[in-house]
């Protein structure tokens, strides 16, 4: 510090000379900026390969995938004639017969191109039950003989049902808010407004809430366990601290899948945890820890503990013991000294650790899948299900997008409260 100032005795002299030297100062700072710009350019050039790799392997795929949440051309591509015929429809009642004819022609084209099933699935995502109706209609159109397509279309009640045509019309717009709304349990109603889906169809808001609750609970648990442990490690001699750190990190070196599997062994009805609880008399009968919320939180807490602990520890380590001594000697009782001197200094570490754990918990997949019950599946499990099982990537993208927005918003709030520079990661 003292190196930055010529001498502290010179300070008043510096202050007096400031106004006179202002012009000099400005030109000097411009020169400094120019020099720094060159430095920055060089730094950027050094980082360029990595940035390029990140953009290609990380940034672009994410943008492409997320764009599927709002851009879904499947139906528009499959029904070109219908799209055109629906151009004049005002959305009220049934469209003109031309639309029915156009749809029939589109269906037959799709059958010929072999894309009928894809269309059926895409329509089904927006219009429950559409899949079987589309496939049935396609078969009828094929085996129609001389029967006019319009007649066949009119003979299937589904195509004249109230919700059908608005859904088709909506689907013919490639740019759609349908999936994003669905991810929030919302939909367009017949009048063009946004409404909540009926309670029996609403799932995602509840899943989001559950995800945030589990993440918050795990974060709190890791904080309660990690803070005292970090304090202990930071206050013992170096050799012992190294051993304790290794003990904390040891589980890190095991795959998360293995650790989760280990917890299924421990938590099951006739597992070690239940044995212990019975033996200690804390429980009178065996508890259902597996496939339960509490089991899930226990396993996730174990996995997340180092993520919360390490940033806290790294900050605690930098706080000199003389800080607390000084507080005591100045008359602060231990609790006051902790609250006013220690805690404010470790707070950035606590925030960093908690934020890290909270955000990682939002994306948990394996552990809820293996340890959680049906009602403990988090949002990632739903996303995975849409990607792997339902093959509805649009819905997966929409859920991911909402999750990303929530996460970024949360991060933004923390950064706003703390200042990003104060978040000390490991």
């Amino acid at each position: 510090m003292s190196a930055m100032l010529p001498s502290e005795l010179d300070r008043p002299a510096l202050a007096r000379g400031r106004s006179a030297a202002d012009a000099d100062f400005k030109s000097a700072s411009a020169a400094i900026r120019r020099a720094e710009f060159g430095d920055r350019l060089r730094t950027l050039a050094l980082a360029a390969p990595l940035l390029l790799l990140l953009a290609l392997s990380f940034g672009i795929p994410i943008v492409l995938l997320l764009s599927r949440a709002v851009y879904d051309p499947t139906i528009a591509d499959a029904l070109p004639q219908t799209s055109q015929a629906l151009g004049e429809w005002n959305g009220q009642g049934l469209p003109a017969d031309a639309a029915f004819t156009a749809l029939a022609a589109d269906l037959r084209d799709n059958q010929a191109k072999g894309t009928a099933y894809e269309l059926a699935k895409a329509l089904n995502a927006r219009l429950p039950g559409a899949r079987s109706q589309v496939l049935k209609t396609v078969r009828q159109l094929e085996g129609a003989g001389g029967k006019p397509p319009l007649e066949i279309m009119k003979s299937v009640p589904f195509w004249s049902a109230p919700g059908t045509w608005p859904a088709i019309a909506n689907g013919t717009h490639a740019l759609t808010s349908f999936y994003l709304l669905s991810a929030l349990d919302l939909r367009w109603n017949a009048d063009g407004g946004i409404e909540r889906v009926p309670p029996e169809q609403a799932i995602f808001l509840q899943v989001f809430l559950r995800t945030f609750f589990v993440a918050a609970a795990v974060t709190l648990a890791t904080l309660l366990l990690g803070f005292p442990l970090a304090y202990l490690i930071s206050s013992v001699p170096k050799g012992l601290a190294a051993i304790l750190i290794v003990a904390v990190l040891l589980p890190f070196w095991t795959s998360i899948l293995v650790r989760t599997a280990a917890w299924t062994v421990l938590l099951q009805k006739f597992g070690l945890v239940n044995d212990l609880l019975l033996w200690l008399g804390f429980a009178t009968e065996r508890l259902d820890l597996m496939y339960s919320r509490i089991g899930l939180i226990i396993a996730m807490t174990h996995i997340q503990l180092p993520f919360t602990l390490l940033p806290i520890y790294s900050v605690m380590r930098t706080i000199a013991p003389s800080q607390m001594k000084a507080a005591y000697s100045l008359g602060a009782r231990p609790f006051t000294a902790f609250r006013r001197v220690y805690l404010p200094q470790v707070f950035p570490g606590v925030m960093a650790g908690c934020l890290l754990t909270f955000i990682l918990c939002l994306g948990y997949y394996i552990t809820p899948a293996l340890i959680g019950g049906a009602s403990d599946q988090l949002i990632s499990n739903f996303i995975a299900n849409y990607v792997n099982v339902e093959l509805n990537w649009e819905m997966a993208a929409a859920l991911s997008f909402i999750l990303l927005v929530f996460t970024l918003a949360l991060f933004g709030i923390f950064a706003r409260i703390l200042g990003l520079d104060r978040l000390k990661m490991v």
Partner: protein, 385 residues
């Protein structure tokens, strides 16, 4: 040093029996075998500036920590204004403390740092503002109140620490090598500033340092620590001119040390036969006839020329000269190959190898028992050669 001796030397400052701080038979051991502090008796008068001086590991910081309440003695009592404080936690002792690394709270501004001891005492806000302003004014940092400690230089940080330790008007302030991290010039400046504040406020200060010139400059009395005990307690003048043992003689100031054996003792003086030949008369400080001894002579008490009646005269040859600006140090090699440093005027024109006679009065030579621990590594003589 016994209690009686200590009391005698403080008699001028404190009436007997009214010591402000008193250590009585205090011992501190961390493992039950080795002692960090052994059987220490020490008293500090109200308003006194007492320095605990010693090499690292000599027990001075442990002593200070026991007084501050960070460590508890394993034996003995410490009293503050007649009240035993052994069971009192640090936050109830009302003692201000300045640390070597300043220990300012980095998340608080300068003002908040200085206000801290007042706010934990639940003093009214309006009152705090005035006292903080006065304290900052005292250390000439009024305009830096809203800075963070990291934005200040080392000297400014130390002044903030000083203001913080004084603002709640403690009757006793402890300083643990407070200037250790500063460069020489700033350190000397701060020494004067601390001394001024001490005079102005009349506060009692116990100051720890390993820098003997700092101790001599600032203190009313200095306790020289060695191996967990007090080697000598006295005014800077006492320590410099009448060291009681060879440790103090070599630790305080600069001293020549000659090895020898005690011969005949007459009154306060004795003859010493130097190892390797030569003989001189010295003050006997706790030596008996036949003892191996160290004779300590200050460079400025040595003189080149012819010996007067009753003076010691040692034949030597000039072995080198060290130019120090205001004076010159000559290295004089005695015939027994021991080397003396002699302080002479810059006009002196002795060439290397020239034969000289080194003279000194017997009362300026002090013979100590050789076994009583020398501080060889700390003596200036080691640095010159």
């Amino acid at each position: 040093m016994s209690v009686a001796q200590a009391a005698a030397s403080t008699a001028a400052i404190t009436p007997a029996g009214q010591e402000f701080v008193e250590f009585r038979d205090v011992e501190k051991s961390y493992d039950g075998r080795a002692f960090a502090v052994t059987r220490m008796n020490l008293s500090v008068a109200r308003g006194e500036f007492l320095t605990l001086l010693g090499p690292s590991g000599s027990g001075k910081t442990t002593t200070l920590n026991m007084l501050a309440g960070f460590e508890r003695p394993t034996h003995g009592t410490i009293t503050l204004e007649g009240r035993p404080v052994d069971r009192l936690p640090p936050y109830q002792r009302n003692i201000g403390m300045v640390f070597q690394n300043y220990a300012l709270f980095p998340h608080m501004s300068v003002e908040e740092n200085v206000a801290f001891p007042l706010s934990v005492r639940q003093i009214a806000k309006a009152d705090i503002a005035g006292r903080v302003a006065r304290a900052l004014d005292m250390v000439r940092l009024k305009q830096f109140g809203d800075r963070k400690p990291a934005q200040l230089s080392g000297g400014q940080q130390q002044r903030v620490a000083l203001a913080r330790a004084l603002v709640f008007e403690p009757s006793l302030v402890l300083m643990d090598e407070p200037l250790g991290a500063l460069d020489k010039k700033l350190r000397e400046h701060m020494q004067l500033e601390i001394k001024q504040i001490h005079t102005m406020l009349g506060v009692t200060i116990v100051y720890v340092t390993h820098d003997q010139s700092e101790a001599l400059t600032m203190s009313d009395r200095v306790a020289v620590f060695n191996n967990g005990g007090i080697a000598q307690l006295g005014s800077p003048d006492d320590l410099y001119n009448t060291p009681r043992n060879s440790f103090v003689a070599s630790f305080i100031g600069e001293n020549n040390t000659l090895q020898g054996t005690v011969g005949a003792i007459s009154g306060k003086q004795c003859r010493v036969r130097l190892d390797g030949g030569g003989e001189l008369t010295a003050l006997a400080v706790g030596v008996a006839q036949g003892d191996a001894c160290h004779v300590a002579i200050r460079p400025e008490r040595l003189r080149l020329g012819t010996a007067a009646e009753g003076e010691n005269a040692l034949a030597a040859s000039v072995d080198g000269r060290i130019y120090l600006g205001d004076h010159l140090r000559l290295l004089a090699r005695l015939q027994n190959d021991q080397v003396l440093t002699v302080k002479v005027d810059t006009e002196a024109t002795m060439a290397n190898g020239q034969a000289v006679t080194v003279c000194c009065a017997p009362n300026d030579c002090r013979a100590f028992p050789a076994d009583a621990g020398t501080a060889g590594s700390n003596s200036k003589q080691g640095k010159i050669q």
